[in-house]
């Protein structure tokens, strides 16, 4: 049995890569590519008559394979299927770090899952509250209810947009400038930030279009997303590069934190760095920048 570290609600989640829980050849070492989270899929990637088999595979994979620091989230089947309850039981029993609620539309959906998760934690002797939750928003209703969904449970660590189904419901198609999902994306970022949790953009499916992928990534970062869902390991590096702080941002963050430490020791709460006014409100952002930089291997100083 591989003991897994306790799941953290707030951690680096730049890259969340989807993996089919049913394919033994794929899941045995997906973590070597260095993504922050792996999403083992019991939903769309698994045929309807193989849902039972995928659960057995998932259970044993989680109990045998050492995923190291990579987080393992499981996407369970929708609440409109006969599978979700058993999915939740196996997720909790096998020690998955979190559960992704597909097609989440309301706070009630989250509460339903939360309650089943708690029940399972009690049934399997797992520390109550250990299993985290995230919601995948795939419909207009889901997007509009984003804030209440985010606030519906202490287990919620983030929300993701699932673009494929969403675009169909919106009656539009993929656009290179992102205008098709701009309102949805905006709402999700707002909701996540108001609730104080993370937000992730949808998958980019055209694996051969490197330029298009980079353009979407830059827009994702500019809009404030924490990370992105991926379908192929080759997408990991570009995301880590785009979401990494620039050298300029890192130097600025270092200056701010150093200056703050010096100034606050001298009892001064507001000061200037490079001609800009800085106070304590800037510190969390600067710290986040340096932590992210550290995780990306771009900073090895002692300030964080």
């Amino acid at each position: 049995m591989i003991p897994r570290p306790r799941p953290e609600r707030f951690r680096l989640r730049r890259t969340m890569m989807f993996m089919n829980a049913q394919k033994p050849g794929l899941i045995k070492d997906a973590y070597i590519y260095g993504c922050d989270s792996i999403m083992l899929d019991l939903e769309d990637a698994v045929a309807e008559n193989q849902k039972d088999s995928a659960r057995f595979s998932l259970y044993h994979a989680m109990k045998t394979i050492d995923y190291g620091d990579t987080e393992v989230i499981v996407r369970i089947n929708g609440l409109d299927t006969p599978h979700w309850q058993e999915d939740i039981r196996v997720c909790v029993a096998c020690g998955a770090d979190g559960i992704r609620i597909a097609k989440c539309e309301s706070a009630d959906d989250v509460r339903t899952v939360d309650s089943a998760v708690l029940h399972a934690e009690r049934e399997f002797g797992v520390e109550e509250g250990r299993t985290l939750l995230m919601a995948a928003l795939e419909s207009p209703k889901g997007i509009l209810n984003a804030y209440e969904i985010c606030m519906a449970s202490d287990r919620m660590f983030g929300v993701a947009i699932s673009g494929g189904d969403l675009r169909k419901s919106l009656q539009t198609k993929f656009q290179t400038d992102g205008i098709d999902l701009v309102a949805s994306r905006g709402l999700v970022v707002l909701a996540a930030r108001a609730a104080g949790i993370q937000c992730f953009d949808t998958v980019y499916t055209d694996l051969d279009n490197d330029e298009g992928f980079m353009a979407e990534l830059k827009q994702n970062k500019a809009m404030g997303f924490d990370g992105k869902s991926l379908i192929n390991p080759k997408q990991i590096r570009p995301v880590h590069e785009i979401f990494a702080p620039t050298e300029k941002e890192i130097k600025q963050a270092e200056k701010i934190i150093k200056a703050y430490k010096e100034q606050s020791a001298a009892g001064i709460g507001v000061f200037t760095v490079d001609g800009k006014m800085i106070d304590i409100a800037f510190i969390p952002g600067a710290q986040r920048t340096l932590e992210l930089a550290k995780a990306c291997g771009l900073y090895d100083g002692g300030l964080v």
Binding site: S53, R55, T64
Partner: protein, 100 residues
């Protein structure tokens, strides 16, 4: 557990094992072929028999066609086939109990 009907789990893909269980009244009969027979045949046999024992299966005809699956996959396929054979594979699985 008793095997009520023939059931299959797994595929013939590389790194997978296809496990078929059939009812029997003559103890456990195992037929095993593997692409890594020389190196892991003995170990695969042990894992299969061990899993059947853990599931309290005493009578079954089991056939395993292995394409280099790891132990965790073999266990999962045997368990799934056994539970399918008594139509119990969809709900209330004893995770952490019989399934270890």
């Amino acid at each position: 557990m008793t095997i009520d009907k023939t059931a299959v789990a797994g595929t013939l893909e590389s790194s997978d094992s296809m496990v078929t269980v059939e009812p029997s009244d003559a103890g456990i009969q195992l037929e095993l072929t593997s692409s890594v027979m020389n190196q892991y045949g003995r170990q695969i046999k042990a894992v299969v028999l061990d899993t059947l024992k853990r599931l309290d299966v005493t009578n079954a005809r089991v056939s395993v066609i292995d394409q280099g699956a790891l132990d965790c996959t073999i266990k999962a396929r045997v368990e799934c086939a056994v539970f399918r054979s008594c139509s119990k594979s969809e709900t209330n699985i004893p995770w952490g109990g019989m399934i270890k």
